[in-house]
Symmetry: C4
Subunit: 234 residues, 4 copies
């Protein structure tokens, strides 16, 4: 039945939203997680401005690729159009997260990419975490939320969205994605930790540079390459 | 009955004071929240120097606009006159909070306004968070607590207290306000987070400047303007 | 009965030691609190190197002014002689605390006094929090622990120990004291918060200077002077 | 029976791994603890990539000195060969820990040893905490994990592994060791605190230098020398 798979997705998205709170990535109503049913092209996302403690699975809002609400009476997150742009352009992803987590947002506000300063970073992303350009006045006056998504796509023209599942939107904050809502939240937690350690590292040694590509590749491929050997055999 | 509405306000102010503790904005007896009954011109505020764990709703103290205690045997917060000045000059507010929260107080001690470095800030205030002048010796020798309120009013001569519901008192700490005690506490939590992110941002990039006005307006109006579209329809 | 008052003091010292743990000022066996029975000239202090979770009130060790153990089979804290020196020279104190709390210890390691940058500081101490000289080789080879106490006394020659109930021992960490063990712990919590805010303030504005004496006096006397008006009437 | 002692070790290693989580040194599956049965030359270590909340004592993996799995169907931690190198070269140790704890990893990423800036440090290590050289491309292409161990051994050629039970691997993170898994975890907690305080100290006073050797020796020997007098008599 149609609603069965969407109901399941709503529960998944609901739990992923609560996990944002459990991991201390959000205060009050900040942040939102979405998931997608690729066959039906239906996106499920947190409602706008509802406190986490009042959320229920059935409050999650279903929208199509044009941001039309498909069921219920709640308004979807005000960032929904950014999520939609990411789902359209990154075909293998199944979940998207936006937060204002403290350290990642501070790098975004500083308009700086997060340098790759250690193997912890290389375990999850094989390059710097990029930072978008500042949004133009024209984009602000146009469809601002959709343009935020377009900026991210622009930033990834020379980047693999699968090998770097995270981005900083300049003057705003981070977005992450993954194969499902859980993995997207997982990467938001990791990003915050990478952002914090990069911050501290730069304070200890302002002249530090990115680690060499051979070391990045070693670690990235250990977890993600064809010959990955981290974790248990599947 | 007269006491009914005041009793209700006392409970509201009591719970808002506890929330300061829950949100880790205060240690020991630091901090205080008040609320006002505009019709009766009665202000209800935390008693002075009582530990949060010993507080009860009926310990809250009622005072008039001249700081006369109207009931009970407790002394009101030593900062009460500052609250009164704010209620007198900011006619639409219903609650005031004072804390020594770590990051906001550090900006106040640094005698610097908090720059508007990102959309998180612009979601809540459409300008920098201003910092007052250092209080003069004449003011210190006069009615110090009332003069602290006067300094805040002076600082807001060219500011909208409704569009920037927070201030730093130089060498002292922050005050916030809102339509009721709960909202005033809400802004204290937000201010502390803005202060922390602005701190980190400046450490990452000391040359960063305030975001452009078009981006501030976009975010501020998204939540507060006539065409606000954040949250659920009321 | 003699043991009654000492048993009571042991429970007080025991609970004050646990409070250090509750307030996150210590890891593992770091830190120690003592109390004194002035009439009997008996000091009660935490045993050396016992984890907080294994402590019982009866494990507290009683010593005289020459560090002779008066009862039980436990060794007193290795810092006991420093406490004894403080009790001898600061006649009105009833409790002493030593911690390695993170921010206060960092100022001590930096060999810098904590500047008085705001009213939060002035509420508790009417000057900078002083930092001792680095201990001399001669003192290290002599009775090191007692000499640590002597350094503190030396540092307070031109300071009032009652108006500044805290000190940093250079390259080592903080000591605080008060009218009883509870108040000494209270000042350790306050010191850590002052140390953290002074750190952040200096990072935001490296050119900041101590607040003016008139403002310090206003706040200090509000809480401690003859005309103190903070708190409830006693 | 053979399995009795190994089963006991597995429980010990399991509990030490959970302690990493309790002490907030790890996120998700980061980090690993091992222990050794010196008589049987069997090492017990956490399985690779299993979340802490799903671990059971019997999931711990037994390996020999050539990293052959001796029982069960789980893969050992991907860092096992580094642990093995340490057990081979440091004959008196019984436990090894690897984490990506925030402050220690930031020093490792900054490629800087942690200076000895206070007595807290000297209580646990009688020199700076060394940082290895960056691993060479040749080592990366060879047996990377084993070479990480070799780098540590190289770094300790002029260091006592017993007097400094911790190291930073450049661009990577810390390793610690001790007489058993518990003590190795203990030193990871201490290292993180030393790393944090050294960071803060350098921010407060960038010109600070290591404390003098006489003070280091005094504190180190107080806890570890022949005439150690810290703690209770054994």
């Amino acid at each position: 039945m149609r609603m069965d798979s969407i109901d399941k997705l709503k529960r998944q998205v609901y739990e992923a939203n609560l996990e944002l709170k459990n991991k201390n990535l959000v205060v009050y109503t900040f942040g939102n997680v979405s998931g997608i049913d690729r066959k039906k092209e239906i996106i499920v996302i947190k409602p706008s401005g509802v406190p986490y403690e009042n959320l229920n699975p059935e409050d999650m809002v279903s929208v199509d690729f044009h941001n039309n609400v498909l069921d219920g009476d709640k308004c979807p997150s005000s960032d929904t159009l950014t999520h939609i742009v990411l789902y359209k352009h990154f075909p293998s992803i199944g979940g998207v997260v936006h937060t204002h987590s403290t350290f990642a947002t501070s790098w975004a506000q500083a308009k700086k990419p997060i340098p790759c300063l250690g193997t912890t970073h290389a375990d999850y992303a094989n390059r710097q975490i990029p930072c978008t350009q500042v949004i133009s006045d024209k984009q602000i006056k146009g469809n601002y939320v959709e343009e935020t998504g377009n900026q991210i796509i622009e930033t990834f023209q020379n980047y693999s969205y699968e090998a770097t599942p995270m981005v900083l939107v300049a003057s705003h904050g981070p977005f992450t994605w993954g194969k499902d809502p859980d993995e997207a939240v997982y990467y938001s937690v990791i990003l915050e930790e990478l952002a914090k350690m990069a911050y501290l590292t730069m304070q200890i040694n302002p002249h530090i540079e990115d680690i060499k590509q051979s070391l990045i590749d070693k670690h990235y491929n250990r977890k993600h390459g064809k010959n990955a050997y981290y974790g248990q055999k599947k």
